[in-house]
């Protein structure tokens, strides 16, 4: 009988109380229900029933009417007085109208006539449990509904309930209409690089695997207009759903008004961008979404996840790991990256660093165009024992310091420059490390800055394999050294 299977699935997390003075029937009911419900309680009359009810708070009560001590109707009245929610089924040989009216008045779910027909009983229980499940979903939906978001409850990746705002967005009446039109959400989001849906991975998988993150998505509304959404998935704690159902709540906010969509080609003013940034940061904070924090330690990338604890127009507090705090403390800056932000945000000054709560408050934050999160080339600060010589037209100068080095460029400071050195000049560079790397190669000057006391110079080069190999080895060893150094900081 497939119905019993449904019953088992629906009932497994509930407690039911049976109140019945006929001992044979009571035992029979108990044996039957025990196969499906989490807990089955039984009482011989209303008084005992009330006692058990207070102790265990069952969600469902099945009661007879005619019983010694306390009759069914009195029992139900007393139950209802304290608990308008509990579901009640009446099981009785009496079915005169007066009882029926009282039952309706007391909000009884069904009036079942004795002798009990198992088929009908099962059917009624299934109906009741389905109703309860639906009520729980509505409850849940309400709890996620905020001032401006749309909410959908999905079970097994299929939408089962949506908020009015969500249905209005698509100009639909109910979730069935939605499912008919959009299938199971699969084709809902438009394909866009950097958005929830790119072809590399099913967006559902991505969403389910990254519950902690907010995502952005593009979607067409009822008029076919493209809207920009921020969305987040929440795992569902719904004991009424059996474990094999994976249920999530999707919460979405329409942020098209912020004009952040990449396909909108018109220039966005800096002020508008800054405003949008504050809004997005606030959204991230409110949703407890993770952001990525970027930093460097002598060229070594230090990235961690973090959360925004506070944000105002000129301050931002970040909660992150001790590691990242260490880097922030050293550098006095940090870069925030989130797929929701139009650009990365740099925070330029530490105001307060709470090491116990792992919260760092930063001042002066703003959007930046070129961000370390986009760095593709590894550059490290070499060890002090590395010397560098720069030769131009037979004149050689010793670098005061090598700021950083990669396989195709070096940045250094010099106290004096060879005469005539300018952007594009061809130079010879010699790198020498005591008892280690020695390299000589041609390079081109890329940039020269004049500082107060010295010059800062960047030179680019293209090494052949033979010269690149030792440099790659050097940089990789140096990275390892820096990892150790950073750990012991």
């Amino acid at each position: 009988m497939p119905k019993l299977k449904d019953l088992a699935k629906l009932a497994s997390s509930y407690t039911v109380l049976i109140v019945e003075d006929n001992k044979t029937l009571l035992t029979k009911l108990q044996q039957f229900l025990q196969k499906f419900f989490h807990t089955v309680l039984s009482a011989r009359d209303g008084r005992e029933g009330l006692h058990l009810y207070r102790q265990h708070k069952p969600q469902i009560v099945i009661t007879d009417i005619k019983m010694p001590e306390m009759d069914g109707i009195t029992f139900i009245k007393k139950l209802r007085f304290n608990d308008p929610e509990v579901k009640i089924l009446i099981l009785s040989a009496f079915d005169d109208k007066e009882y029926l009216y009282t039952a309706i008045e007391l909000g009884v779910f069904r009036f079942l006539k004795k002798p009990l027909v198992l088929e009908e009983f099962t059917q009624t229980l299934i109906k009741l449990l389905e109703l309860m499940q639906h009520e729980a979903r509505i409850q849940l939906l309400k709890s996620y509904e905020g001032s401006d978001n749309m909410v959908v409850v999905c079970e097994n990746k299929t939408p089962v309930l949506a908020s009015d705002r969500f249905l209005d967005f698509f100009a639909l009446n109910d979730i069935e209409e939605f499912n008919e039109k959009y299938g199971d959400l699969e084709d809902l989001f438009l394909k866009q690089e950097g958005f929830l849906y790119s072809d590399s991975i099913s967006w559902k998988e991505k969403l389910l695997a990254n519950m902690q993150q907010s995502h952005q998505a593009m979607i067409k509304d009822s008029k076919g207009k493209i809207r920009h959404l921020m969305l987040k998935a929440y795992p569902l704690q719904m004991p009424q759903l059996s474990r094999e159902d994976s249920a999530v709540v999707l919460s979405m906010v329409d942020i098209t008004g912020l004009e952040l969509l990449p396909h909108q080609e018109k220039e966005i003013s800096a002020q508008k961008q800054q405003e949008a940034t504050v809004k997005v940061l606030n959204y991230l904070k409110e949703n407890g979404s993770e952001v990525h924090l970027h930093n460097f330690y002598r060229g070594l990338t230090i990235t961690d996840k973090g959360k925004i604890a506070f944000v105002s127009k000129d301050r931002i507090a970040l909660k992150t790991r001790a590691n990242q705090q260490k880097a922030i403390k050293k550098q006095n800056w940090v870069v925030i990256h989130s797929p929701l932000l139009p650009k990365d945000v740099i925070c330029e000054e530490v105001e307060k660093l709470d090491e116990e709560k792992h919260i760092t408050t930063m001042k002066r934050y703003h959007l930046i165009d070129s961000s370390p999160s986009k760095r593709r080339t590894i550059r490290v600060e070499p060890k002090e024992d590395m010397r560098m010589q720069l030769c131009f037209n037979e004149h050689c100068f010793e670098a005061e310091q090598i700021e950083d080095i990669s396989i195709n460029s070096v940045r250094c400071t010099l106290f004096a420059l060879p005469a005539g050195l300018e952007k594009g000049s061809k130079v010879m560079i010699t790198l020498q490390q005591e008892g280690g790397l020695t390299l000589e190669f041609e390079a081109a000057i890329f940039k020269i800055w004049m500082q107060e006391m010295h010059y800062e110079v960047v030179a680019n080069y293209n090494l052949d394999a033979e010269k690149e190999q030792p440099l790659v080895h050097y940089i990789s060893r140096r990275q390892m050294e820096l990892i150790r150094e950073f750990k012991h900081l």
Partner: protein, 249 residues
Amino acid sequence: MGKEQILYDDGTHKCIMFSLDDEEVEDFFLSVNQFLIIQNNSAVLIDPGSEAVYEELREAVSKHISLDRIKYIFFSHQDPDVAASITHWSIATQAEFIISKLWIRFLSHYGFMEMSRLLPLEDGGAKIGFGQEYLRFVPAHFLHSPGNFSLYDSRSQILFSGDIGAAIVPNDTLNNEAKSFHNRLEYLEPFHKRYMAGNRACRKWSSEVRKLPLKAIAPQHGAPFDTAEDISAFLEWFEGLQCGMDLED
């Protein structure tokens, strides 16, 4: 067999197998393959291996394509013969690195810190499209690593299977004499019985793989299975294999 073998080439799409081993440790010889997929003017490097082969592989790869054209470097799992050179490759290229999300936190032990260049794979895998064709990361968890993927190239129909199908051989006899499935079984069996977690994992992977049109299965150790008979003989054997926890009391 040489150190390089073209597995597929149609003019715009090419799959190359390199077989570079660390010759200094011949006593513990392990024949290791690295793979390169070139599509038009960009490339994916698969299981580049340890530091010991980095230089040789770099040279071999750059004969086919400039290093800055490597878009992705994929690691089937975290083992040193697969991923230990990650730092070198992160310095020498601008590629992004694809590996199961399970191993992200361990990569700094290889000296790798460029987390923003990582594309962690979710357990369900992922797909990278190019035109009508795609690369698919097929879950192969617990075979042997708990976060493990095979890579399927829809254009060449080659499945790069990592340690699955790996033949552990003392020298390169395999490539000359023991190429067919039945001849190499003796090199497959001990490794798979001990390193693979259990038959359930074998069956799960096989049933996914059976859905794919296959021209070859190319493991990280030993020669590719490249005939229909060998592929089906291998899959049949692997599906029925009792291994790992199946053999524990």
